[in-house]
Symmetry: C2
Subunit: 249 residues, 2 copies
DNA sequence: GAGTGGTCTAGACCACGAC
DNA sequence: TCGTGGTCTAGACCACTCC
């Protein structure tokens, strides 16, 4: 049977809409199993590919997550709150309370896949840092055993050569304290925030399922003299993060 | 023929990867037409559904955009730079200039679908603003004729009742200048940034193609006394925006 | 072993855009 | 009119999960 009546939504969209509404209405909770392909085929009398198409809508929206050999499940969302400018904490603003309370504060980060190398500067790094070679610190952050962020920090090679910045253990206070020791303490930051779908490599390294965007934060640290001393590109699982920025009028 | 040899990527993924690399290598430029379903079927000797699946990978990644009756094209990316902290400085709205002037780098914007209503406060608005009723200003912004942002500003109903905030034309300096007139000038802002795939209604109103996330910015404005005076939820086409935040160490 | 999602084939009719 | 993408059917074999 050929169905598509012109002025109506296609079957797979209607099924997807109905499932989405059921989720929002609380008929399915986070982590619940949704009707599978076979169930949809039986319930609506449709072909396998059509049932798959309906589920793929929800999967590509990030509403549902498929598990091989098991089923399709409602996605869970437990964001980490990342403060851009922490010194302007919201406690100062008494009545103001966070809008998405992620009780995720205090969960420990782990760093794996740390990789440090001296490389030719490319693209933005060369332009922003104004140098031909950089030391790069690449690492992956995980929370609760799940990878959530890929980060790559670039420093002007001449500036940090021989310092702990080029070694795995940077000591207390991290690279910013070391930049300070070198007489180039960061005094100002600029962060650029974008969102997009991940490249395949990013999807693999972050263990992202379909329908999960990444937030790309590109932070430049400037010393008091105005010269850029670090360019840090962070790629975050959008389902794991809420970024918070505070500033005065 | 049944293909999936365990240790290899499926055909459709290999085709998608190859096309993606060709795009990144500059073989296809922004707006170029990619090989269509028929071309892929012929080139690789595959079924229609498999060719579609390969193209759908790129489409869901936001790399390509399908056009009915025409073909599949490489997506174009022309972001608007939105300044988080600079644009909200008192110099801007204090002198009667619209905040949005600084956003679009000279490209003209339009506001359509403006809708103002007094409503019961729901969810976050009730909690953050601490009131039972709010005035809501909903609008859609377009740049170059393309919708790029949906925004909904909530104000405590008692606070703004009878003021220009409840009317379409808010006068010079916009709602922040009017809040100042009411003795509740915004002194501090908190912005929460998230990214996710759009709901169907958002996708329609913003004219988003598949594979385009939205950036959700939830901004709370606080008066000097610490009370929240506005909650503004902005939903932006992620392909049209770069958010910039500046702050000192 | 039964059930699930993942991949693939080989057809079909439709709406739309370009010519 | 013809080619394009959009939707749909009715099968198939596979790898994986759960029992």
């Amino acid at each position: 049977m050929q169905s598509p009546v012109p002025h109506e939504l296609p079957i797979y969209r209607r099924i997807a809409d109905r499932l989405r509404q059921a989720i929002q209405a609380g008929e399915f909770h986070d982590g619940d199993r949704l009707p599978g392909e076979n169930a949809l085929m039986a319930e609506y009398g449709i072909a396998r590919a059509t049932a798959r198409q309906a589920l793929s809508v929800l999967i590509n929206e990030g509403v549902a997550v498929p598990r091989r050999g098991s089923g399709v499940y409602v996605r869970q969302f437990r964001p980490i709150r990342r403060h851009g400018s922490r010194r302007l904490s919201r406690e100062r603003w008494g009545t103001g309370r966070a809008i998405w309370d992620g009780d995720t504060a205090g969960r420990p980060y782990t760093v794996d896949e740390l990789e440090i190398a001296r490389e030719p500067a490319v693209d933005e790094a060369a332009r922003v840092l104004g140098c031909a070679e950089v030391w790069v610190r690449r690492r992956r952050y995980s929370v609760d055993g799940r990878p959530v962020q890929l980060a790559a920090s670039c420093f002007p090679a001449e500036l940090v050569e021989g310092s702990p910045v080029t070694r795995p253990d940077t000591g207390p206070g991290g690279v910013y304290a070391r930049l300070r020791d070198l007489g180039h303490a960061p005094a100002h930051f600029t962060e650029e925030v974008r969102a997009r779908m991940p490249a395949p490599e990013e999807r693999d390294r972050l263990g992202l399922s379909a329908g999960t965007p990444v937030i790309v934060v590109c932070r430049t640290a400037f010393a008091a003299g105005g010269e850029a001393v670090e360019l840090n590109t962070m790629i975050m699982d959008a389902a794991s993060y809420v970024l918070q920025y505070d500033f005065d009028a």
